[in-house]
């Protein structure tokens, strides 16, 4: 899990340099992070997270949005919404942060997902963890069947990674991308409506695995929608997020029942979530 062989404690981070910043939407920026001497900080699997910290401010768990197949750097897409993220958004290329990880489990891209059709459903910044999986699958295209991506956000301006979606994903073989925004907007000729409703309108067949991430309310209704379409709990995956401090299942914050989101998660299959007490 974590490389402790170099004598570094699990709570002691590495230093990372910000080598690129992309303004995705008005309140989302994607940060590219490298080791100070160049190269990646660590290897990870799709769905895993890392603790990013500005010393003196705070530390937070963010999902790694770049794919493991990217051999050059790691990326974090971060929405500005609190104390730490506000400060992160103020950083510039060349600034240093500390990073530790990768933490948590990952999407079973090498086991359960292999050879299957995949349906990705994301809302807003919820695309961040899924993007890692999507790109991983596209880079190992032969291992997976049809890929459907349903992505929605509040407005066209809030669609994260729109350029990549249009230029890479839409052009990839056997990939269907469905975009939607919540409200009508000038210059948008795509679909308008909430993700769960759009999901039912499209009516995906149940021969695939559903991977969902987004705001809790969206997850709730998407889950209902998928069930109406005939999906089983065992067919649906999501990633959870709670407040975390240690990232290694010890500080006692992120547990839901006996499971720790940072260690046993963040990726859960819905039948696993059903067994947890309703506290997330």
């Amino acid at each position: 899990m974590c490389d402790c062989s170099n004598g570094r404690d699990i709570l002691v981070p590495q230093v990372g340099v910000i080598t690129g910043i992309t303004q995705e939407t008005p309140d989302v920026k994607t940060f590219r992070v490298n080791a100070p001497e160049g190269g990646k900080l660590f290897e990870h699997m799709p769905g895993q997270c890392a603790m990013v910290c500005i010393p003196g401010v705070s530390e937070g768990m963010f999902s790694i949005t770049s794919s493991p197949t990217n051999k050059e750097y790691q990326e974090f897409s971060i929405k500005r919404c609190g104390l730490l993220t506000e400060q992160l958004h103020g950083l510039r290329v060349g600034d240093m942060v500390t990073v530790r990880g990768p933490y948590g489990n990952n999407f079973p891209v090498e086991t359960e997902f292999k050879g299957k059709n995949l349906l990705f459903i994301a809302g807003g910044i919820g695309l961040a963890p899924l993007r890692s999986v999507i790109n991983y699958c596209l880079d190992n295209r032969e291992n997976y069947g049809r890929i459907d991506i349903l992505y929605g956000s509040r407005s066209a301006d809030d669609l994260v990674k729109l350029q990549e979606i249009q230029e890479v994903w839409m052009k990839a073989p056997n990939v269907n991308v469905y975009l939607t925004i919540d409200r009508e907007q000038e210059g948008w000729d795509g679909h308008v409506g909430f993700v769960p409703t759009y999901l039912k309108e499209i009516g995906f067949s149940t021969d695939c695995i559903g991977i969902v991430c987004g705001p809790p309310i969206m997850i709730k209704f998407v889950l209902q929608g998928l069930k109406e379409l005939g999906f089983k709990d065992e067919q649906i995956y999501t990633t959870l997020e709670l407040r975390m401090k240690c990232g290694v299942g010890k500080c006692g914050r992120c547990n839901i029942g006996s499971k720790y989101v940072c260690k046993d998660g963040p990726v859960f299959r819905f039948d696993q979530i059903d067994e947890l007490p309703n506290e997330y």
Partner: protein, 371 residues
């Protein structure tokens, strides 16, 4: 078995402190707490319950994890960018991380009660589980635990229901077991570490021919009292591994949490509570990252920018007891995260505690059984 007169305890402390750091109950300003003993301190092993448990020995309330210092990078070496950008980068700094020091000297924890020794096992399951917490491990490797039998257990004690034996510390995972009987302390090393410690300080001990019989008498005395304690028969039925569904949605929580102030007294005096927070503190020469105890009872424990998952005191209260009596056993082969030391029973400002919770559920069952 070795022995020393109670009047001579100071010379025992001195002997230990001569070779090791000695962490033991010390009385200051009317209260007994664990601390590093130095000449002149009032060692107090008569008080059964120190206010804080001995968990500080391995998991101190505050400890430094590492220090981050900022190193200035002058503009001209920053990069080959144009002048404006170079000026911009003039403020840039490089981060250097210096990890905190691990404990590398043996130290002695003296006078730990059997319940607190069991609590170390409970914490081991958390901190020594993969991935290992090296700060904790370094203390565990270098700590020599001298356990002390509980001469006269008190009414708030309920350790026996968790299988802790207050009469016989040699059954606990300690290095030395001791008994304070009358005016003598009896000392019995039970591990290699304990033998080594004993060998180093053996000159302070005196001969005691009747040691074995005295200790046996004491054991019988304590066992007899332990049986009479009001909570000796407390039943843990309905708690333990895999009981989440039965307990989580119970109506009983609503009745038992009402008085809870949301303070951290119970968690901070508890020998098994191990939740922590990680914080930064900015000083003139760098940022210190430290770890400190945290309490799941605090309203900001799980607070995130986007809200939190345990918003009400009821949820937080439930979390604490479910963690101790259900979640932890689920993850650790049924071992409870409570050792029955009774500190929360004595210290809760509002007189709520784990015993009341267990009893409230037991009563509820009777009620529902009647219906």
């Amino acid at each position: 078995m070795y022995s020393i007169s109670k009047n001579n305890l100071d010379s025992l402390y001195q002997a230990i402190a001569g070779s090791y750091d000695l962490f033991m109950p010390i009385k200051t300003a009317g209260q007994t707490n664990y601390g590093f003993w130095k000449d002149g301190d009032e060692g107090d092993i008569d008080t059964l319950k120190t206010v804080r448990s001995g968990k500080d020995a391995f998991f101190p309330q505050v400890e430094q994890l590492y220090k981050v210092s900022r190193e200035f990078i002058p503009a001209d070496v920053a990069s080959g960018e144009d002048a404006e950008k170079a000026a911009d980068t003039a403020l840039r700094t490089k981060l250097n991380i210096t990890p905190g020091k691990l404990v590398d000297q043996d130290f002695v924890i003296f006078g730990m009660r059997p319940c607190d020794v069991r609590a170390i096992e409970v914490m081991d399951n958390v901190f020594l589980a993969d991935p290992v917490d090296s700060y904790y491990r370094s203390r565990r490797e270098h700590g020599i635990v001298v356990a002390l039998a509980c001469h006269e257990p008190e009414e708030s004690c309920f350790c026996t229901i968790f299988g802790v034996d207050p009469a016989d510390p040699s059954k606990a995972k300690a290095d030395v077991a001791t008994w304070l009987v009358g005016d003598r302390l009896y000392w019995k090393p039970i591990s290699e570490k304990g033998e080594a410690l004993t060998a180093k300080i053996s000159s302070v001990f005196e001969d005691a021919a009747d040691a074995e019989s005295k200790v046996e008498e004491e054991k019988a005395y304590i066992e007899n009292i332990a049986k009479q304690l009001p909570n000796a028969e407390l039943s843990l039925e309905g708690w333990g591994a895999g009981k989440t569904d039965e307990r989580f949605d119970s109506k009983v929580w609503d009745k038992v949490y009402k008085g809870c102030l949301g303070c951290g007294t119970c968690t901070f005096v508890c020998p098994t509570c191990q939740c922590y927070d990680i914080k930064d503190y900015t000083t003139k020469d760098g940022i210190q990252r430290y770890r400190c105890w945290d309490s799941c009872m605090y309203s900001d424990f799980t607070l995130m920018a986007g809200g939190q998952n345990r918003q009400t005191q009821l949820q937080r209260f439930r979390q604490r007891f479910m963690h101790k009596l259900v979640y932890y056993p689920t993850n650790n082969d049924g071992m409870f995260m409570c050792v029955g030391c009774g500190r929360c029973v004595e210290k809760c400002p509002q007189s709520l505690n784990i015993v009341k919770v267990i009893k409230a559920f037991a009563n509820e069952k009777e009620v529902s059984a009647d219906v």
